[in-house]
């Protein structure tokens, strides 16, 4: 009984801790003018500010571009490492986790000179932020994909497919991708959430993404900036919730496989 109370207590404290700021944001962004009461004008104004709309579109495009580029770069690389050069696995993991320990400011100092070349070749569109963001999401995407790849018998399945006449491209599209669908989805959603909330790098490199715009607007119209922030937060929350539901479904579907064998160890274990 007391254990249960304790559990609820903890839930309550944590819930308050997370939700209170959100409620405060909601309250503030819907506050009426001098006469008091509720008023949605700040929320309506989101669509009226062309600068803000641009920033939102930029961030959404960045989210999509980053997800795609991350997958195109990371998935084939990881499959290749798993199958062909498993000795490099630790090294790749280390490289992918690096962005987690390098402070953003250091990253910018290192990247800024590179960006003068990027802008020289590709123009100064905010979308060039994609390249830094891909680096930034590596740790999260790597973890998600790694868990997906280790959960399937990648070697046997790809060899079976190849013996049936599949080239490497077909193996990736027809065998690997369906096998790690859940993991790919997680990686993509984590990427989207991270890109939508990114401020430091965009600001330091002078690209107006959503958070940079929110920060600017905050200086002139606090209610509007809070409304946008809350909307972005809720979107990210929604995505993470979707992710945990997808993850949960994957887990239960594995539980209803009483006949599913564990891959036989034998010699192939030596190879793996």
């Amino acid at each position: 009984m007391s254990v249960r109370l304790f559990r609820y207590g903890i839930l309550l404290v944590l819930g308050t801790f997370f939700l209170l700021p959100l409620f405060a944001m909601l309250e503030f962004s819907t506050r009426g003018g001098l006469e008091g009461g509720r008023d949605l004008s700040a929320w309506r104004a989101i669509g009226d500010d062309p600068q803000l709309v641009d920033a939102i579109l930029t961030s959404l495009q960045l989210a999509v571009l980053t997800s795609v580029l991350m997958l195109v770069l990371l998935l084939p690389t990881m499959v290749w490492v798993h199958l062909r050069v498993p000795v490099l696995r630790r090294l790749v993991e280390f490289l992918c986790l690096l962005p987690l320990v390098i402070p953003a400011i250091v990253l910018v100092v290192g990247i800024a000179p590179l960006y003068s070349w990027v802008t020289y070749f590709l123009g100064d569109s905010s979308l060039t932020l994609t390249f830094v963001y891909v680096v930034l999401v590596l740790p999260y995407a790597f973890r998600a994909l790694e868990s997906g790849l280790s959960a399937m018998d990648l070697r046997t399945l790809s060899e079976a497919a190849r013996s049936l006449g599949a080239g490497w491209g077909t193996v990736l599209l027809r065998v690997v991708l369906p096998g790690v669908r859940g993991a790919v989805l997680s990686a993509a959603l984590l990427t989207v959430a991270l890109v939508l909330g990114e401020f430091t790098l965009a600001s330091l490199l002078n690209f107006p993404n959503l958070q940079v715009a929110v920060n600017l607007i905050g200086k002139r119209d606090a209610a509007l900036s809070i409304a946008v922030s809350l909307a972005a937060l809720l979107l990210a929350f929604g995505l993470l919730l979707a992710l945990s539901i997808v993850g949960g479904r994957r887990r239960t579907s594995r539980e209803v496989e009483p006949l599913a064998p564990t891959p036989a160890p034998a010699t192939d274990g030596v190879r793996a």
């Binding site: 046997t156 013996s163 006449g165 080239g167 027809r174 006949l259 891959p263 010699t267 192939d268």
Partner: protein, 353 residues
């Protein structure tokens, strides 16, 4: 539907980190023949099969299929059906779609693909399970589907790497007979890897015994069983008794002085040091007089129709003798026994081997 293709492996070498897995393997499989590769763990059976399937490269040597050198052809252009030891069905596809996978890659029309997949599932006895997913099938069923999938592409050669080893004894026997039936029906050249000697002897046209990356003997099952070419083969095929001795006219003199009768051939002139190899079933317990060996029973283990005795000789060596189980009571643990060797069954080998 498939006419057999000849397979030749010529002087294959493959080393991992300096340790040879294949060390000059030569093998020739006739068109339509069923050859088993038998050998202890780590002797290179899987490596040989993977080289043939294009999943592994060689350091030296050639792979010839139908007279054509395919050593450098990538796996997906080799047209070889493979069944693996680990379950290898695509988990997101039904049995039918698994079988149709290779056909789809060959741009077979949807209608033909479904028809052929259906036929093959019938062939392996799973016509009714076509719509099931791998996780809804038993291990034996999954391996049948894997076999159907490998056969669907009408491969030139069928490669089976211990496809039965994850299954229980009864299913194994049933499925191995089925594999043999289908193979005979389609006359498809087949290489079957196993480390179960009974399995290999039961279903093969010829059995190749491998050791340390090379072939020790390649012969019909009865020949491998009756005339093992080397002591290694003899031991692997179930001969567990071996005596060191010296050849003297028509027998072998053991260090302890007793004589074992044996068919002495020119390869072992009188006076040469040899080993005599005898199966437990080719030794008899004599009740009517002295035999060539005497000793005391150490243990009895019941094997069904026969009971295997461990008999300790005065020299300290332990020999294994099979006696009919109904007569095992006459030789309890600790009892002195006299043993006779069937001269036609004793095999001679070089002492070094």
């Amino acid at each position: 539907m498939t006419s057999g293709t000849e397979v030749r492996l010529v002087d294959l070498h493959r080393a991992y980190a300096g340790v040879p897995a294949l060390d000059g393997l030569d093998l020739r499989v006739e068109p339509g023949e069923f050859v088993s590769l038998l050998g202890p763990s780590g002797c290179g059976k899987t490596t040989a099969l993977r080289v043939l399937g294009g999943l592994e490269t060689v350091d030296r040597g050639q792979v010839l299929v139908g007279g054509q050198d395919i050593t450098d052809v990538p796996a997906h252009r080799r047209d070889m059906g493979m069944v693996f030891q680990a379950y290898s069905l695509f988990p997101n596809l039904t049995a039918r779609d698994n079988v149709g996978f290779g056909l789809r890659l060959r741009k077979v029309s949807g209608k033909d693909e479904r028809r052929r997949a259906g036929e093959l599932l019938e062939l392996v006895g799973l016509g009714a399970q076509a719509a099931k997913y791998p996780h809804q099938m038993s291990g034996g069923q999954q391996q049948r589907v894997a076999l159907a999938r490998a056969l669907a592409i009408q491969p030139r050669v069928l490669l089976l790497d211990e496809p039965l080893s994850a299954l229980d004894a009864q299913v194994r026997v049933q499925l191995r007979e089925e594999i043999r039936r289908i193979q005979t029906e389609l006359a498809i050249t087949t290489l079957f890897v196993t480390h179960d000697q009974e399995e290999a002897l039961a279903i093969s046209d010829r059995v190749g015994v491998m050791s340390k990356g090379r072939l020790e003997q390649l012969d019909a099952p009865a020949t491998v069983y009756r005339q093992p070419a080397t002591p290694f083969v003899a031991e692997f095929i179930g001969v567990t008794n071996s005596f060191a001795g010296t050849v003297a006219d028509s027998s072998v003199v053991l260090p302890a002085g007793s004589r074992l009768p044996a068919r002495v051939v020119a390869a072992h002139p009188a006076g040469s040091a040899v080993r005599v190899l005898v199966r437990p079933g080719d030794l008899q317990v004599r009740t009517d007089g002295p035999g060539q060996l005497s000793g005391t029973v150490l243990t009895q283990s019941f094997l069904g129709p026969v009971t295997r005795l461990s008999v300790k000789l005065p020299s300290g060596d332990v020999v294994r003798v099979d006696v009919p189980s109904e007569r095992a009571a006459a030789t309890p643990t600790g009892a002195p026994v006299e043993l006779a060797v069937d001269p036609s069954a004793a095999m001679l080998a070089d002492a070094r081997g």
